[in-house]
Amino acid sequence: MTNSQETTQAQTNTDVATGVIERVTGPLVRVSGMAEAKLYEVVKVSEEKLLGEIIELHGDVAAIQVYEETAGIGPGDVVYRTGRTMSVALAPGLLESIYDGVQRPLHKIEAAAGNCFIKRGIEAEAIDMLKMWKFTPVVKVGDTVVAGDVLGEVQETSVIVHKIMVPPTEGGTVVSIESGEFKVTDTIATLKRADDTVASVEMLQYWPIRQPRPKAKKIFPNEPLRTGGRSIDTFFPIAKGGAGCIPGPFGAGKTVTQQGIAKYCDAEIIVYIGCGERGNEMTEVLSEFPHLIDPNTGEPLMKRTILIANTSNMPVAAREASVYTGITIAEYYRDMGYNVALMADSTSRWAEAMREISGRLEEMPGEEGYPAYLSSRTAEFYERAGMVKTLGSEGRTGSLTVIGAVSPPGGDLSEPVSQATLRVTKTFWSLDSDLAYKKHFPSINWLTSYSLYAPNFEEFWAREIAPDFSEVRKIALTLLEKESSLLEIVRLVGMESLSNSDKLVLKVAGMIREDFLFQNAFDADDAYTPLANQYSLLKSLVTFYELGKDVVTKEEFDFKTFAEIPTIAEFQAIKGNLKATPEDYQSYQERISTDISALA
């Protein structure tokens, strides 16, 4: 276990030249003279000081993955050890940042490079070390604090208060603490430990990325993350603190779905990792988020967002690190007691980076060339999600929801990355290329997707939304299932052969598909539907079915007259009316009832 004392001290270590390069193959470098190095230690390769990390040790030879392009590096070049393990800097100033996979701010890389290309060997501090922050203590001299306790607060952005916590390995009596303007490296408090030594606490802390941050305990997630997506929230919800995955072939809408969740979900902090994906997608987020308003706070979305962008053409080893960089930052905000949502797009690219490094290490491959540890690494990653009681005497509750996109080759879910992910995630949004082909978006297939969290939310739904929420949801799901088997019959023998009650199922299920599940992510009004409205809309559709089923089965009933009742045509209008109150829906449902009884 790394303790903070070691980490802080290690940060200031001067680099020692110890190793000599023996071999270079792509991003993998073998170095001799590294007998004293430790696993996952950060090194700087050659006089260009390229950032790397030790991933294997054999005697005095270390295998190093280099986070930058290795052209021009060769045997005989030196390698510098830094003494610290691969860590992220945690302090006020993280929010609104855009980092590469190893937490270098991209704007600083741009400034240092002087043009639009990523030059290598650029060193950039993750956090602005000179910026002054107004620190307000919440404890006073003489108080006893333990690891995880909040010492004071900093208003990081207009929506987020950054809590400065006692590092996970510290604790003691507060000797000094002051309010005022501080840099992140200034001492804001000193503590006297139990053994009478003194610890000084800065706002800036470091944490190794491959090690989960400690918590008091995990608790059972029983509250849904609300995303405004109708198909997600109502049918296939994910818990705050849950783990979900979105596998799908290209063009099925993984990124649009993830971005939709990042935009509208009711988490307080969003960490968005663009892992081996398109450069323009990150640019889109960057250009859009500062202007989009968070429906939950009324402030620009960027104020709660941290972006990690390691696009597909950026060095592959840094892609491997990017998901860990992101999740460690996310855990840090979780520890403050926030609900954090992390999107990783796409974890398949992360797995491919692992495969590439593994191949160069000449490890024995598992399935499809992926390393044998693919599934354990995947499980470890998703297990860092969760709702937790944090360290500290007050025991805050925080959550970290992890949503990973998976890009299965050819959309075939039997491949190793999808399978490893499905085993450890509980919400599965199955994106369907047929639906995407028909331009039905989000292309979440309602027959194959599932949420194992849904039963946990029944109490929440009944309490917060409506007593019959679960029931309405179940009826709707049943209708959709019936529809799919009826459509098989229609394809064979035609519509005419169906009974009126089957026609009713098709009619209502069709409306659920087209008017409820279909959601236009590019239409600002349609993209976000509050959970209460989702319920009312679905309840109205289910009402058509529940009341209609007795009427249409009457003898000699002409189904056409049902399809023509005015309230069916009105559905679009009430759905489009964002200001519709529960009373409006109530009266709409009453009119449905009137219309249908008029048919009888």
Partner: protein
Amino acid sequence: MSQKEYTDISSIAGPLLVVEGVEGVKYDELVEVNVPGEKAPRFGKVLDIAKDKAVVQMFAPTSGMTAAGTRARFKGETLKLGVSEDMLGRVFNGAGEVADNGPELVPEQRLDISGEPINPYSREFPDDFIQTGISSIDVMNTLVRGQKLPIFSGAGLPHARLAAQIARQASVKDGGDFAIVFATLGVSFEEAEYFRREFEEAGALERSVLFINTAADPVVERISTPRMALTTAEYLAFEKGMHVLVILTDMTNYCEALREVSAARKEVPGRRGYPGYLYTDLSTLYERAGRVKGKSGTITQIPILTMPDDDKTHPVPDLTGYITEGQFVVSRELYQKGVFPPVDVQGSLSRLWSAGVGEGKTRADHSSLKDQLFASYATGREVRELAVVLGEASLDDTDRAHLKFATAFEAEFVGQGEYENRSVDESLDIGWKLLSLLPRASLKRVKADLIKKHMPAVTNEEEA
């Protein structure tokens, strides 16, 4: 920089050369190989360097090389291409050498052909509508300047004619023609010649740079050809402020060349024998497109690939689709029906369409019209399938209208012909005209005021 020559070559296998006893050699370094009895050197690069043993991947074929007498000189720099504005109007071979009997080029700069990744922070989101004059692209799958949008085709399909039509007709609102950087990778002489002649006839040759690697040229050369093309494009776009359209054909051949090298290195293969890093490798080509802050030029990329057996899940189209911003799919079905250009409207996708359409770019009604056309065409095609099984007699009036719509859509909207260049206004109006074949009640995606404004008066809804 030491430029020692080494003669201890321990193995020559496929495109790989192993040189022993080397000193001070760096990864990715350029290697000049002199074969006894040959004047011109062959080139390669360092792929793996362990102590005193270097594995060199040749860009030229290794045929005729001898282990004895062949000398390898390590150049101390990576492979570079001399670029200048005078490249416009010129033809080069796949190794970047002049191939049109013209004078040698005087390079203004020498650039590393691998390029550097564009900083996502420095990018600007592409949002300038490109009018290709093709309705199925402009209205349904809008292309924007700085996008990378491949053409997915199959053997025997007219992707070359489609790409040539796009190159001929592409224009943007603020005027100005595209400079075209065009590279062939292992295609037939006829196909390469077809493009050259098309550019010539359209008067586009003097604003084009051509890199020609045909099927007869060395396979390994194909790995550097697209990089040379893109290096030229980056120079023209970001140094000279031009809007550049890059066409690469055929990327499937490129991937096969990569597979050949990977197999020679005895790497653990991924799917279908392609190397596990195919995705990463392709991204280092496709991501060299876009717009960046503070530069007036842009790079729009249209790579062409043929899907073996029209299979979209084959690794080449699959991994391409995961990197590019959509795809144009050439439809065999439409081509057989005689529709040109045979763009599979539903299978195609432009991820950046929303940035390029609407008021001030195309027209305010574009987005909803597009949604409606997609929805109606999808319904029409479903009805068509149903009619095959159950017979047309089983269809109701609405179904029949959709069937008629789908047929008219393919014939008039998609099938505009090879030499018709439609303005986006014309394309949109044709869309509205076709929608008038459908009953009003089934038009759920367009609002009533738009219908009033754009739908031509002649409708058959009264009879419906």
